[in-house]
Amino acid sequence: MSPLEFILAGTLAAATPLMLAALGELVVERSGVLNLGVEGMMALGAAVAFIVAYQTGGHGLAFVAGAGAGMAAALVFAVPVLGFRANQVAAGLALGILAGGLSAMVGRPYESLTIRSLPKLDIPVLSDLPYVGGVLTQDIAVWATLAMAVAMAWVFRSTRLGWRIRAVGENPHAARAIGTPVLRLRLACIAFGGALAGMGGAYAATVYTPLWADGMIAGRGWIAVALVVFGTWRTGRVALGAILFGALSIGELVVQATGVRIPSQALAALPYVATIIVLAVISSNRMLTRRHSVASLGEPFDP
């Protein structure tokens, strides 16, 4: 397999945990809430999903458990933030630390154990093509995630639910004035975002690298948050950013394996820097950016 084929084949799988978490955070932020606890929710989802997969051997169940764990953690964040108008940044950071610690605790007995991954689905004929074949041979969760991104873009663009979430994110007071249940909608968005973060963790721990190790999320949650901001709250760009980051992080491995003499720290920084530069450049149209940014982001809502 040539290095390029290797990168093409690995990109989508590497992008999937990020994409799930970033799409979840996108929904939360679009509703006007900033949840910085994504890293912790992913870690908790990963630990719980790994345990369930290890005990039952079922990936479906593991994903459900991971989503549940992420959602539960998100609800812990929602109570002070929505109920008591706590500072969202502080509450999110606290949630991240709490959930991260919890994941280490519940996962300790499973440290370094491994399980079976999800099978890659062969598509007749297409999977045998050079280059393209590798891209198209993915497991079911990858396809589901991509479908989710497409569906989410459609929801925000063309459905009342999406418009309502955007309205609440722009001006919760006006949204309430036209009869939108602001707090309930935000609660639903926070829970959904937590569930997706948990699933992102579940994918990382049961499919992408099917083993549990403390700290295995390794900053993906933070990247997800950054992707949402630099993708200017637009579904397509956020998903694209995740794929780009996936490609670069695989590429970095390939380059390191070929043994070129670039300091490994510089190589490791490359995906982060390059992703942010690309997203910043494609989002430089100020008028469009204003149209998609979330005016009330991070502000507590007092009905």
Binding site: A175, R176, G179
Partner: protein
Amino acid sequence: MTPGATSGPASGQPEAGHPEPPRQGSQPEPGCDVPLLRLRGVSKSYGAVQANRGVDLTVMPGSIHAILGENGAGKSTLMKMIYGVEAPDAGQIEWNGAPVALTSPSEAGRLGIGMVFQHFSLFDTLTVLENVALVVPGSPRRLAARIATLGRDYGLQVDATEYVGALSVGERQRVEILRCLMQDPRLLILDEPTAVLPPQMVTRLFSTLRVLRDRGVSILFISHKLDEIRELCDAATVLRDGQVTGHADPRDTDTRSLTRMMIGRDLPPALPAEPGGAEGAVQLQLSQLDWTNPDPYAPDLRGIDLKLRGHEIVGIAGISGNGQSELCALISGETRLPTRAAGAIALRGQSVGAMGAAGRRALGLAYVPEERLGHGAVPEMTLWQNALLTAQSRGLTRRGMVDRRAALRFAQDCIAGFDVRTAGPEAEAGSLSGGNLQKFVVGREIMLAPSVLLVEQPTWGVDVAAAAEIRRRLIEMRNAGCAILVISEELDELFEICDRLHVLHDGRLSPSLVTARTTPEEVGEWMIGAGRPDAAPAGKGGGTGPARPGSSGTNADRPDTARPDSARPAPSHPDRSDPAAEGPGAGAASEGSDHAV
């Protein structure tokens, strides 16, 4: 219960501390005696401010009921309680004779109450269609069709695909009204719906409201324009300081008594707007200003020529959405021209087209934008902090640090000088009533003593007394030598204060019309594009909507349409254009300037 009587002789009111209000006339509507809506002793306070106390209100089915009162009298607060946005501290609300708890706007919506907010509840990042769909059921395609047809029927044309953020205040007003009408409410609350509508649209809106009333819809109508109220409403309740101070039948009460009921005294006579006589130097000059709008649906500006001198007030009339916002952004510096075109705008002799807003302010420009909440003032900041935003160069900072005492003093002077009713300079801008915030924003800019003042909608939502005061201050400034450019949709106001008028239509500016020698009808024709010799053909939806570029065939420009106004035309040579092409609805501009004084 007698038909139309208002809550009997204060029976069982929870709050009996205030005198029984005097009553002038009662509401008509024989035939149905259960009021649609009834408020008893409703009170509401915000901290130390008592916005409403013991308010009784009865609205009969099929009645158009006016709520009158000065700025800060508590009208909007009362309406918000009826719509469930705010909860009353005390009192009871009855709907069709049964007590109801209106805890949320969705509750009110279910009962059939619709509201047009003074500060709209629209979302900039959504399109008109999406904003409508948030509250009106139906498939988007069907809704778009309804927006188009109802817009035409009601004279409230809007482009359903446009983002609300790109619309002017007047266009937003149309969207907000249209959206409310599309919900088929049984009680329609209109909080200053006509404040930024041009006369033609007001006339159309009123006939729509009359049709709705005849179908049995009740309407609560708030306006500071007493003529409108006398024309439209069949009952009126007057509020002062949060209390009901009277009832009237506006059809047979003259504006003077209505004014007296509102403010407790007569209005001082308006300052005559006689031209100052002195001819000042040119302070602001636009020469062949062209600007291509990045938004393909908004008008481009083409060949704008304008000269503004000291000692004069020039008005720009026109239906909003015809390039007013773009023009203001270009003059204020919020939009900059490319350097090579910078000469198109000259401020006090300096070409400033490429200069930013701060630089132009440093040259002596002051600007009152039309959107007071969010553009003219930051709602979450206190008044003194808002004062700091534009007045920081006027000694409110010392060595780069905020001089809090000076800023407080400045804000306090503004509050006192412009009769802003508020708790003080520490109050948040967002807590002021609409008219009071307007007074503050206008006052802040006037206090900067600019040499050029650009004002959009100077008296939007300001009550009659305060509006007269703002106009007086503008005339005073002019007499002191300031050059003032007023952009407004209110023809009466422009005719009252301006020395010269231009009309903006579809991104083009009419030649200068000397106010004393033109008529509202003539201006009205220019407003719909009919004044121009190459006027757009008839059949543009009644001619009241803003023409979109491409929708009208106005490309063959005659040189005289963009003729620069050669200083002030001599009296013997009236600068009138020939209204050759009578457009549809041309004369509908305004029924004379029978003003509310």
